[in-house]
Subunit: 222 residues, 2 copies
DNA sequence: ACAAAAGTGTTCGTTCTACACCCATGT
DNA sequence: ACATGGGTGTAGAACGAACACTTTTGT
């Protein structure tokens, strides 16, 4: 039992983990194993422990519930409407993360019955205010993709230009001319060319993130 | 007394209020009237009450401690290092706000001994991690000024082109060519020309934010 | 052999940048 | 009268947008 002089809210984190399979964008959801909303789909997340930062908490809960250990994870908004959780006052710090969907095995642990990828445009009904958290994360992603090279976190180390373009188009909702897109990317200096496809035809040239970018923190933390 | 089954952190808000006097940028600080850090300077802010959102809390505390009621106030980061407050675990949701410095009277109320503007490049020693919160708010401002027309919140309803330019230069840390700057602003469509200075000389042309922009929420909330 | 996907250059319009002079006001 | 600050236009460079054809691979 914990006793305080003034009332305190519970604090939780929720994470919107985006994944890409070469075609579509997905979000990682869990089926809740406990009340409230037992049996419905929700974002992975949970309550803050006494000695961790919210970032620690988001990472811990993600790993416990789904096995995911994203490289890139960032907080983007606090949801604090008093009625957002029917049990008690819960304030949620929301994060978004980008992972290579292929790169880890889904594990359902803990109080998550199972973890599962859902296509962003075929989401099931969601617990709490999680639908609006996802909406909000999408807007954030659309905003931030112009500022930092985060799209690469969704792709394998080596990727092709059309794959990269697809990611940009899905995130921004616009479409781009193939040649202009490739030129702009190439001249921006963040790409390294791994293996060129020589002639012209259906084989794909492989690119990767330039090393200078990959390990320069200023690109990622602004 | 409040009793919970699991430990909970205290949740507070802290606000970085920027002001502009025609020359320099300022931040609104209070002198703490209570321990810890009694007598030193700090950001206005305080603890979340049971039935308010973090936005409500930030507004309430700002008004109580300084009298400020900013039009534009937005959360930007959660600071959650367990040791950031010596008393107990306090998690802080940080906000930044922009006000017309001329437009309100400073009032010191509550547990603030007094409220006062400090120039951004002559800040006193600050309580807690408030120095780094301010640093972080500045970076945020630098980032967001390219996306939304928030600079106008620092200026009077009517303002001159050189004043507007000064705000941009202070926030971004760059300087711009007068003519290019004026052209870009004029052609961006967010300005309305109030009174043109006819000839050319030292009288200033007055501008204001275009009405369409002023009351179109999409410009402000993205 | 046909359909689907990937590679490749050029032109044109727009935007950005750099730059110099004149006038009005206050001291 | 002089210093300060504000107004104004143009030319060249960089950037962004639009556009068609050829090759390869899989069916």
């Amino acid at each position: 039992m914990f006793i305080y002089k003034y009332p305190r809210p519970s604090v939780a984190t929720d994470s919107v983990v985006f994944g890409f399979d070469g075609r579509e964008l997905f979000v990682l959801l869990i089926e809740r194993g406990v009340e409230p909303f037992k049996g419905s789909w929700a974002l992975p997340g949970g309550f803050l422990k006494p000695d961790e930062t919210v970032e620690d908490c988001a990472r811990r809960e993600l790993e416990e519930e789904t096995g995911a250990r994203p490289e890139y994870l960032e907080q983007f908004h606090v949801f604090s409407k008093p009625s957002r959780d029917p049990r008690t006052r819960v304030l949620s710090v929301a994060f978004y993360a980008l992972v290579r969907k292929s790169e880890f095995r889904l594990i359902a642990g803990d109080d998550a019955a199972k973890a599962c990828w859902y296509s962003l445009d075929a989401l099931p009904p969601l617990a709490f205010d999680h639908a609006s958290i996802i909406e909000s994360a999408r807007r954030k992603l659309r905003e931030v993709i112009h500022t930092r090279p985060i799209a690469f976190k969704l792709l394998d180390k080596k990727f092709s230009m059309p794959e990269l373009q697809r990611v940009y188009e899905l995130i921004t909702g616009q479409s781009y001319d193939r040649r202009n897109f490739a030129r702009k990317m190439s001249s921006s200096g963040v790409l390294a060319c791994e293996e060129a496809a020589p002639g012209s035809g259906r084989q794909k040239t492989a690119y990767s993130l330039a090393k200078e970018v990959f390990d320069d923190d200023s690109f990622w933390n602004l």
